[in-house]
Amino acid sequence: MRATVTIDIETCKGCVLCVPVCPPRVLVMSEAVNAKGYRYPLLLEGCTGCELCAKVCPDYCFEVYREPLEERRTDSAAVPP
């Protein structure tokens, strides 16, 4: 796993803006609802840490974590800085 997000599901208002912008399609809306009565996103495996969900979220629910690029690639000499 090279990236992930944390999701503040209690702050989420179920707007679903994050789901369609996720390129690897790893966000799905829950069946359960939070204390406010909204469905919230669940994270599947495959997050790339692209930050798009965080950028479109109106309620600041996401934090994004990523392995630094240099530490991920160890096999190629032609690594872009």
């Binding site: 796993m1 090279r2 990236a3 992930t4 944390t6 999701i7 503040d8 599901i9 702050t11 208002k13 179920g14 707007c15 679903v16 803006l17 789901v19 369609p20 912008v21 909204y38 919230y40 669940l42 994270l43 495996e45 997050c47 840490g49 930050e51 798009l52 965080a54 950028k55 479109v56 979220c57 109106p58 309620d59 600041y60 629910c61 996401f62 934090e63 994004v64 974590y65 990523r66 392995e67 630094p68 530490e71």
Partner: protein
């Protein structure tokens, strides 16, 4: 917190809420575009080191809920009146970083005179208008930027040329005034448009810092509640309706509008 795939120790946090945001909870609707714009403004203020000399002049609209969660000084003005208040503030404190945060109803309906004269005089503050084509806070009424065909409670069945006349393209109007040095229109309905918004805000802020004259950014935002669509349909509605009338881009970028 839902953390089935928790961060591992070798991961770094690359995205967090803005430092200047005091609380993530706010009362704006699901799918509202305004908090996205707020995030960008707060990120830029922090990045450019402006926090300690920022005076935000807020208008009246849904975004009036923001001042209490922004860790900068905010001068709350009346509906439409932020540009005149910002004029007074910037004139007596020229070293302050002054920007207005207004909606389309506030700036283009109630306060059109103020922003036009501020731009003409080249007042050195940045005016930001969050344009969702509707008076959101009062529950969905037409403003000067409501687009033709748009249903609101005062344009039932859709804005109609005969009855309601034409919307005002505020960015193009402002750009005609010699005192306006930087005028741009952006949007927050897609990740790439959000990136554009950030760039335009950055350039507008730099315009103020360089003392070039009046700077202006119009940001199209989603208002699914008063567009009467579900939240997830907001971005699509914006693209199909608002953006058609209000094209994105830099409309004016001029050196030395204030000499």
């Amino acid at each position: 917190m839902n953390q089935p795939l928790a961060p591992t120790p070798d991961m770094r946090k690359v995205f967090d809420k803005p430092d200047l945001l005091l609380k993530t909870e706010h009362s704006l609707c699901p799918g509202c575009g305004e908090p996205i714009a707020l995030r960008l403004m707060l990120e830029l203020i922090q990045e450019l080191g402006l926090r300690n000399r920022t005076i935000c002049v807020a208008g009246i609209g849904c975004y009036t809920a923001f001042p209490m969660i922004m860790d900068v000084d905010v001068l709350q003005a009346l509906h439409g009146r932020a540009p005149s208040v910002a004029t007074g503030a910037k004139r007596v404190r020229p070293d302050a970083f002054v920007f207005t945060m207004q909606g389309d109803g506030d700036m283009v309906s109630e306060g059109l005179q103020e922003v036009i004269h501020s731009a003409a005089r080249g007042e050195r503050f940045t005016a930001v208008v969050l344009n969702n084509g509707v008076f959101g806070e009062t529950g969905g009424h037409a403003t000067a930027t409501t687009v033709l065909g748009q249903h609101t409670k005062t344009t039932p069945g859709g804005r109609n040329l005969e009855l309601h006349g034409n919307p005002i393209k505020i960015s193009e109007l402002i750009a005609q005034l010699d005192g306006a040095a930087y005028v741009a229109r952006a949007s927050v309905h897609t990740p790439s448009s959000i990136k554009l918004t950030r760039q335009y805000l950055h350039d507008a802020f730099q315009c103020q810092l360089a003392g070039r004259g009046f700077s202006f950014v119009e940001i199209l935002t989603m208002c699914p509640t008063d567009w009467f669509v579900p939240p997830e349909a907001g971005p699509g509605w914006l693209a199909d309706n608002l953006k058609k009338t209000y094209p994105l881009g830099v409309i004016k970028d001029q050196e030395g509008a204030r000499g």
